[in-house]
C-alpha cells in the first residue's frame, strides 16, 4: 500500500493534508485528485494550505547549467579514483590534513575526557557545555602559524583562510570537529558521574 493510499481512502472525511503536496505535483491517482479537489472547494483549511503550498510549487526549480555541471564534475576529480591516486578531489596533502585533523581531534578528546575525570573526582560536577568550552580553549592554544593549524584549516576550508583570522576560525574548526563526534560517547561517560552528584 502506498503512502497516498494509506493517507486517504474513498469516503475519508478528514482533511487530506498529507496528499496536498502530491496533489499540486499532479502525482495522485485521478480518483484521489478528484476527491482532494472536491474537498478543497468546501474546506477553507485545506484551501489555505493549498494556497501556501502552491507558492512553493510555483517557485522556479533551480537547475545546473551545462557549464556548471561540467565544471563541478572536473573539480570533483573522479578521474583520480580511476587512476588509483586516491579519493576524488582529495590530493595527498589533504589526506595528510585529514590525519592531522584526526590527531588533533583525538588530542582534544583526550584532554576533554581528562577534564571530565578531574571534575568528577573532585566532586565539583561538570556539564557537557563546560567540557566543550574547555575543548575550544585547548584548540585556541594551538599555534595558529603552525603547520598543524594550517593543515586543519585547509582541510575544513579548502579555499584557504588567512591565518591572521585563525582565532575566530579555530572556533569554527572546533565546532566542525565536535559536530563529527558521536554525542553518545559523551552521554555514556556522563551518566555515572551525574548519578554521583
Amino acid at each position: 500500500m502506498s503512502e497516498n493510499d494509506r493517507d486517504m481512502r474513498p469516503g475519508d472525511r478528514e482533511h487530506p493534508t498529507d496528499l496536498l503536496p502530491d496533489f499540486l505535483r499532479g502525482a495522485l491517482s485521478p480518483e484521489q485528485e478528484r476527491e482532494v479537489a472536491a474537498h478543497a472547494e468546501d474546506c477553507s483549511v485545506c484551501a489555505e494550505e493549498l494556497d501556501v503550498l502552491s507558492l512553493i510549487a510555483e517557485h522556479p526549480v533551480p537547475a545546473l547549467t551545462a557549464e556548471e555541471r561540467s565544471r563541478v564534475y572536473d573539480q570533483i576529480g573522479f578521474g583520480g579514483i580511476a587512476s588509483g591516486s586516491g579519493s576524488a578531489g582529495r590530493s595527498d596533502w589533504r589526506s595528510a590534513a585529514w590525519k592531522v585533523a584526526a590527531a588533533i581531534a583525538l588530542l582534544i578528546t583526550g584532554i576533554g575526557v581528562w577534564q571530565i575525570y578531574l571534575a568528577g573526582s573532585s566532586g565539583t560536577g561538570w556539564s557537557a557545555a563546560a567540557v566543550l568550552e574547555a575543548w575550544e580553549e585547548d584548540v585556541r592554544e594551538i599555534d595558529p602559524s603552525s603547520e598543524d593549524a594550517r593543515a586543519l584549516l585547509a582541510f575544513f576550508e579548502p579555499d584557504g583562510l588567512q591565518i591572521g583570522e585563525a582565532d575566530a576560525e579555530l572556533d569554527a574548526v572546533v565546532d566542525d570537529v565536535l559536530d563529527g563526534l558521536d554525542p553518545g560517547v559523551l552521554d555514556g561517560i556522563a551518566v555515572p558521574w551525574e548519578e554521583q552528584q
Partner: protein, 178 residues
C-alpha cells in the same frame, strides 16, 4: 536507464564512468536540495562538489540498505547545513529575521506579487529549524514520502510528520500576518 546497483558496485571499484553516471543522474537533485536550502548559487555548487567528494570517500560504507538517492540526499543535506553554519559564522550582522506581514493593498501586478510571495516563502522556510526546513522542502519540492524523508534525515517517520506540520503551520501563520 541507469542500473543503479551496478553503477554503485562499479563506483566502489573506482570506475570513473560509473561515477559519471551517478553524477549525471543525481547532480541536479543535489543542486536543487542545496539551492532550496541555501538560496545561493555559488554555495549550492560547492555543496554539489563536496557531496560527491564525500560520497566517493564513503561509498564503501554504503551497503544499499536504502536507495542511493536517499544516501546522497543525506550527505547533501549535511553539507548544506555545514554551509549554513559557516555562512552564519562569517556574517557580521545577525541573520535577517523575516518580519514581514503581507500587504492588504491591491496588487498592481498579480504575477509579480505572486513571484514575490513565492520568494518570501522560501526565505521564510530557510529560517525554520533544521528538521522542519528539510522536511518541508523534501516533501513539497521533491515529493519524497515521509518514510523516505525519515531515511534521509535518520529520523523517525512520526517525527518527520510532526516537523512537516509544524513547519507548514508556521508558513501559514507567516502569510496570515499578525
Amino acid at each position: 536507464m541507469l542500473d543503479e546497483r551496478h553503477a554503485v558496485e562499479q563506483a566502489r571499484q573506482g570506475n570513473e564512468s560509473a561515477w559519471r553516471s551517478l553524477y549525471e543522474t543525481y547532480a541536479d537533485f543535489v543542486f536543487r536540495l542545496a539551492m532550496q536550502k541555501l538560496g545561493d548559487r555559488d554555495a549550492a555548487l560547492d555543496v554539489v562538489q563536496e557531496t560527491f567528494i564525500r560520497a566517493s570517500t564513503a561509498i564503501d560504507g554504503f551497503r544499499g540498505d536504502s536507495a542511493f538517492k536517499s544516501w546522497i540526499a543525506r550527505i547533501a543535506i549535511n553539507e548544506a547545513t555545514n554551509q549554513i553554519r559557516r555562512q552564519a559564522r562569517r556574517r557580521e550582522a545577525p541573520l535577517e529575521v523575516v518580519e514581514h506581514s503581507p500587504s492588504r493593498e491591491p496588487a498592481p501586478d498579480a504575477e509579480v506579487v505572486r513571484k514575490d510571495m513565492a520568494e518570501r516563502a522560501f526565505t521564510f522556510i530557510r529560517q525554520l529549524p533544521d528538521q522542519q526546513r528539510d522536511v518541508l522542502l523534501l516533501r513539497t519540492t521533491e515529493g519524497l514520502s515521509y518514510a523516505e524523508i525519515a531515511t534521509v534525515l535518520g529520523s523517525s517517520e512520526g517525527s518527520v510528520r510532526v516537523s512537516y506540520h509544524h513547519g507548514l503551520r508556521k508558513l501559514k501563520e507567516y502569510f496570515r500576518g499578525p
